[in-house]
């Protein structure tokens, strides 16, 4: 007997028939003698519609009221799934965020989970009851509904698995696992059987959409074994685990790309201490996240060029902040370019095997792809390139690092 958290996203509960299908998957785990909590998202399309209404009503967006509106989507699915389970003879009840409770901080619209009180749920496990839990939502210190931010149901599931000390957290989605890269771009992309938390974290934050980044960080922190698998196809998925559970390590595990980046270059920035601090400090104050940074060698000992990337959605805000600093900083020009893409090569094997960056740069050079900015971490090399070259670059790198499906099968 194991204790399992299952999570189903919006597509998996998109209509009545799919909810019944989910109930059957849950039944299988129950019939196998497992204790089961199921976390569900809103039916696909619902959250977008609710968010659309709040925007149409008010641009001010009191996040507390936004949370009240959007949290209603998960409320519908937990009730319906509980009914579907009961209908096939499974003892089940729904739990809303405030009922469990899922205690969060008070940051409405993107709350963080503080504590989950699972005593009553565990008592009911012992009676054979399945818990059907609303993802994405909790309750704040003000006793009002809080939501965790878009995609937050993954985080709900992993946090619940950690609180319940679950043996596994199965994330059911509309793809059947984590791939070496986006199969829509590279037809030879392979499904990864096992991946480390660190790699999954890099892939998720570098643009792979399978799991929400926060949920992976939380799984790593609490050692929750996460499995990504399909709601629709009955095949093994991808297991996200500790490094020591992976016997044969690939040097490069996957290639990610993110078209959501924009590049800003400040031309003719005075080359003196404190300037970078002023720039990035002001951006941080305006809640603009800066990712890659490169500073050119000063040509004249007086000024330099500073290039960095921000999220595309933050570009206007960043430009506005930097415009206001122009007099203080006395830079010559601000050049913004949103027609860029970040491509990343990820793998824990890089730690022990040098030369990955070199292979990456050579591969791109052979295809005449210009590298605009570079950043690296222990297990990742990222480059910023022109958006038009995205597919070309991803395909070439996928082949160069031996990831193509026909390369080893």
């Amino acid at each position: 007997m194991a204790r399992i958290v299952m999570k189903f996203g919006g597509t998996s509960v998109g209509d009545v028939d799919r909810i019944k299908n989910v109930a059957q998957r849950v039944k299988r785990e129950v019939d196998a003698g497992n204790e089961v909590a199921v976390v569900v998202s809103a039916m696909s399309g619902t959250t977008n519609q609710l968010v659309g209404w709040t925007s149409a009503i008010s641009r001010l967006h009191d996040a507390r009221e936004y949370d009240v509106v959007v949290a209603s989507g998960e409320q519908v699915t937990v009730g319906l799934l509980a009914l579907a389970l009961q209908d096939i003879g499974i003892n089940a009840r729904s739990w809303l965020g405030w009922q469990i409770p899922f205690r969060t901080d008070g940051i409405h619209g993107k709350a963080r989970i503080d504590r989950i009180e699972t005593q009553e749920m565990e008592r009911r496990f012992a009676q054979g009851q399945v818990a059907v839990v609303a993802g994405f939502q909790g309750i704040g210190p003000d006793a009002r509904i809080t939501t965790l931010g878009r995609g937050g149901s993954d985080t709900s599931a992993v946090a619940l698995a950690a609180a319940l000390k679950a043996d596994r957290c199965d994330i059911y989605t509309d793809v059947d696992g984590v791939y070496t890269t986006d199969p829509r771009i590279v037809s030879k992309a392979r499904k990864i059987e096992r991946i480390t938390y660190e790699e999954m974290l890099e892939l998720a934050s570098q643009g792979a959409k399978v799991l929400q980044t926060r949920s992976v960080a939380m799984a790593m922190q609490h050692g929750v074994r996460v499995q990504v698998l399909s709601s629709f196809v009955d095949v093994p998925g991808t297991l996200v685990v500790d490094e020591d559970e992976i016997v044969e390590q690939q040097v490069v595990t996957g290639i990610a790309y993110s078209p959501d980046e924009a590049k800003i270059t400040l031309v003719g920035v005075p080359d003196r201490p404190g300037v970078a601090g002023a720039i990035f400090g002001s951006l941080a104050d305006a809640a603009v996240n800066v990712d890659m940074i490169v500073q050119n060698v000063s040509q004249d000992g007086q000024t330099t060029d500073l290039t960095f990337t921000v999220g595309k959605a933050d570009l206007d805000r960043a430009s506005h902040v930097l415009d206001k600093l122009r007099n203080d900083l006395a830079y010559a020009e601000l050049v913004a370019d949103s027609n860029v893409c970040k491509v990343s090569v990820v793998g824990v094997g890089m730690r022990s095997q040098p030369g990955i960056a070199k292979t990456m740069f050579q591969t791109l050079a052979e295809k005449s792809i210009n590298i605009q900015v570079i950043s690296t971490s222990e297990i990742k090399v990222s480059v910023l390139i022109g958006a038009d070259y995205t597919e070309l670059a991803v395909r070439a790198l996928h082949t160069a690092f031996g990831l193509d499906a026909d390369a080893d099968s």
Copy 2:
């Protein structure tokens, strides 16, 4: 300064523009210096969709899960209306049933309100905050969401008005008041300026759809002044008040009709004590509500015919119960007829003025309309007639009792 509860039904909050329109109506009351609580229903169509999903998922219908699903509709509208109010500069916050809390009994799907804790809401009134309250929902002793039954938002509003000792409870709807009869049938129907609780209660329970019967009973019990008026047209509505607030009393205030009745006749029932008790006891045990009853004079001293009406929706269940009793009761035949309509004449003036029933029967006789069953109360006479005669009967009675608009204007 007054304290006012405003209630807006599903059509009034049916889309984003209508919600903004409701916000403007609320603003007018706030600008007039009033303390305001607004009770809202789900957007029109939403509750039907949610109920439809629960039926499609499961015929078993755990009422606790049904409540979780359908209560989500009001959650959306309170959040959106609070945002719309804030957008035009009104301090407002939403309240869900469990937050206030609206404490109910544990009868899921048709809960009764036990107690409303309004202290925090009243504290915020003093700070100029408008309370936007989800109608139709509360919390049961099991700390789960309960709903009050279809149309329950009227009851929420009146109960809140009673708890807040509000000066007025304004029910905004898609008609501009209570009419002497259905204007779709009688073009000369007149809007009633003031109507007593008793009359409104009879009209509501006899088929007039403007207010939910329970809400009128509650208003009467707590002396809540209810006003029915239009969300869309800016004209005076109908005030539901105590009898002593109405100076010039009409003998007949309105004509109601209900096509939702079915007639059952048991032919050849043994004419001995205990038989009626057995029949109606069994129906009550099966939760079948019996309305009108008539027993023919025994022809032979041995058997009699028993005729009564039940709701059309209960007809199958009632027939089933009576079929099972057939051996015990030894009646000859069960004749069911759902092609009937109940027409009622209502007015508190009847108490002091005899002859209403006589006028009613004569009027129907002149039109050759056969009366199948009769029932009366202190302020009402109801007859059951063939459904085909409904419009003819209502129009003739409306004229006969001097209610036509051209009769006194």
